[in-house]
Symmetry: C2
């Protein structure tokens, strides 16, 4: 595993690099499609290759509950289990325990939580998080972190951060590093001083990469960006920086502008299944009657399988009829859009033209109303917990 | 459009042929995957090509209600709308009006029915059925027929048959035949005398193909086979014979043995989405715990995409997790199985060895319990009617 920084467009700003993994080279900045349950929803590995994605994310929490870590290990590990020969990053389960489990009890030892599937009780510690991720065999694995709600008091956030630091140290101690990189997760909520402490402490422990956690979980977007402004300059230049759970095209452009190399988010796949198609002008809702007889594709000029082969009217029909193909065609489009976005971002950085790209992108792209975004996120979390 | 009979294994028995359509040559006996709403559920046209299927079925009833015949026509017809360049057969809507509409009123003029989607009232006549199917532009279209429940009295079935005959004549009269073949539908329930009358009458009108309708709708399987034994010898040897809505692998082998050339059925796709995978030994329910750690594919040796790439355990996991990819992988397998079945049947006929194939097939294949089949069908129809 190695990371090479090829170009930095601005001092402290947008970066282009190369992450070499045992399962191929990943060009950064990269967006990782989410495959929590060992499947990027609706897609086969062949589809993911065709889109051009080189690295995906899976979740230890989900796989631990179902089918079970031992089962995946017996079946040859996560790559073989899901038939994906590209790179994989697994999240430790930290965020999912805090966002999906209906109940949890946290100590310095670890976290006791309940399954969102059947309510059964389970325990996760830093050591177990590493053990499970080693069994799954992803290329990049994450420390166990604590991720409290964004609107908690500074005291609560500070305590959570302190535990996250202790847990990170314990993760580092037990990790065997055999062909797997371990990344730490900076926490500290929206408090600049805490974020600073977290970045400095974790940097001193020398991980192979640094993630920024606890963002895009309901806080105002200005806070998200302020945390990035505070935190990113404190992270080592020669290591990958991963902004967890972000995001929308507009947030990714801003993350890149601040020096982020890696992103993951369920948004492009989840909104696809809700009929929201990404375009350079913003999201388009395919349910809208204006698409009912449109013979052009949803995004004219788009080179994805969906736009090359089908009219917007056909996609509209499939969504109205609740046909399963609808969700797959929309997912193919949205992930292709994300892939193209990342390729254009990277080309602009390598050309020294990212500033221009960023201005042009924002001039055209109509972001989704923030209130709508937050409501969607809360509804989704509630549905998952329910 | 032309049909060539290449070989007949037994006098009046299994046949191998070739149906030439404006969208390619279809080898018979053929199984047509069902794509009622202009999509074979979960699959893209590329998937269908990869399976090897050359001809699919779509439903005038479904497309009339949604997105509307005019819309499909404006978008260039059904082939272009759904991106499928192979052959298509459309059913007239007759069976759907009788199986899916919650209410219907029949006269010699036509049938007034209610949409199973929104309850709105609609009228379908033989002339409209042809007009709609000409607009959709399938390669083979069907006359409007009346399909009463299998357990109706002989009087009711006779009346329905008489209307079906009158309607067939009217369909034939208005059909323009431009690159489209029109098939008649033999009715008459389980009454040999009625089936005989129907076959003789419709044969006298000289259609381009003959279907047998009103079977596999709940009657005992011995009745289904008795109707085939009565009817098939009365149909012209040089024209394709199509057994509508059949069927299961075991029924197809028996249909072929009696001289059927074409089949369609939602069973392989519908049961796939319920986790029932077809194998040479019968259906396997992937939900069963015996698959939870099985590293072999569901059907070892199977050349389909699913079996080549994934373990039974992975498929089991996807079904347990209700992941959308589950339904697609199972559909790919079941339709590949059907395609292989038809290829083996055809090869056996051409080798003069169909009798042997038939014996060997039945020796291995454990058919699904008939009571279970009938219950499944009734549950599905009830669910569709809402």
């Amino acid at each position: 595993m190695s990371f090479t920084l090829l170009k930095s467009d601005l001092p402290g700003g947008a970066r282009a690099g190369e992450l070499i993994t045992p399962h191929g080279t990943v060009l950064t900045p990269v967006f990782m499609p989410v495959g929590s349950q060992a499947t990027v929803k609706t897609l086969t590995p062949d589809d993911i290759h065709a889109i051009g994605a080189k690295m995906i994310l899976a979740n230890t929490y989900h796989l631990y509950l179902r089918p079970g870590i031992e089962t995946v290990e017996k079946l040859g590990g996560l790559h073989r289990f899901m038939g994906w020969d590209g790179a994989i990053l697994t999240d430790s389960g930290g965020y999912q325990v805090f966002s999906l489990s209906p109940l949890r009890r946290i100590t310095y030892e670890g976290v006791t939580f309940r399954s969102h599937i059947d309510g059964s009780e389970h325990f996760l510690s830093p050591e177990l998080a590493i053990k499970y991720q080693e069994s799954l065999g992803a290329d990049v694995i994450m420390v166990l972190d604590e991720c409290p709600p964004h609107d908690e008091s500074e005291t609560v956030i500070r305590d959570a951060m302190a535990r996250t630091h202790r847990w990170a140290e314990r993760c580092r101690k037990v990790h065997r590093h055999e062909g797997q990189a371990l990344y730490a997760i900076v926490q500290g909520g929206v408090f600049p001083e805490l974020r600073k402490q977290s970045a400095e402490y974790l940097t001193s422990l020398d991980f192979e990469g640094y993630a920024i956690g606890g963002l895009s979980i309901g806080e105002p977007k200005s806070d998200t960006m302020a945390v990035l402004d505070t935190t990113l300059p404190l992270l080592p230049v020669n290591k990958p920086r991963y902004l967890m759970g972000v995001g929308s095209p507009e947030d990714i452009v801003e993350g890149v502008a601040r020096g982020v190399d890696m992103f993951d988010c369920a948004l492009p796949t989840r909104t696809a299944r809700n009929g929201a198609l990404l375009t350079w002008a913003g999201r388009r809702n395919i349910d809208n009657a204006i698409f009912s007889e449109m013979s052009a594709p949803v995004m004219p000029g788009c080179a994805c399988y969906t736009c090359r082969n089908f009219s917007a009217a056909y996609l509209h029909h499939l969504f109205k009829a609740k046909e399963l193909l609808a969700y797959r065609l929309a997912t193919l489009h949205n992930l292709s859009f994300m892939q193209t976005l990342m390729e254009r971002i990277r080309a602009a950085i390598l050309d020294g033209a990212f500033g221009e790209f960023r201005r042009e992108f924002h001039a055209k792209y109509q972001p989704t109303n923030e209130a709508v975004r937050v409501t969607q996120k809360q509804k989704w979390l509630k549905a998952k917990r329910g």
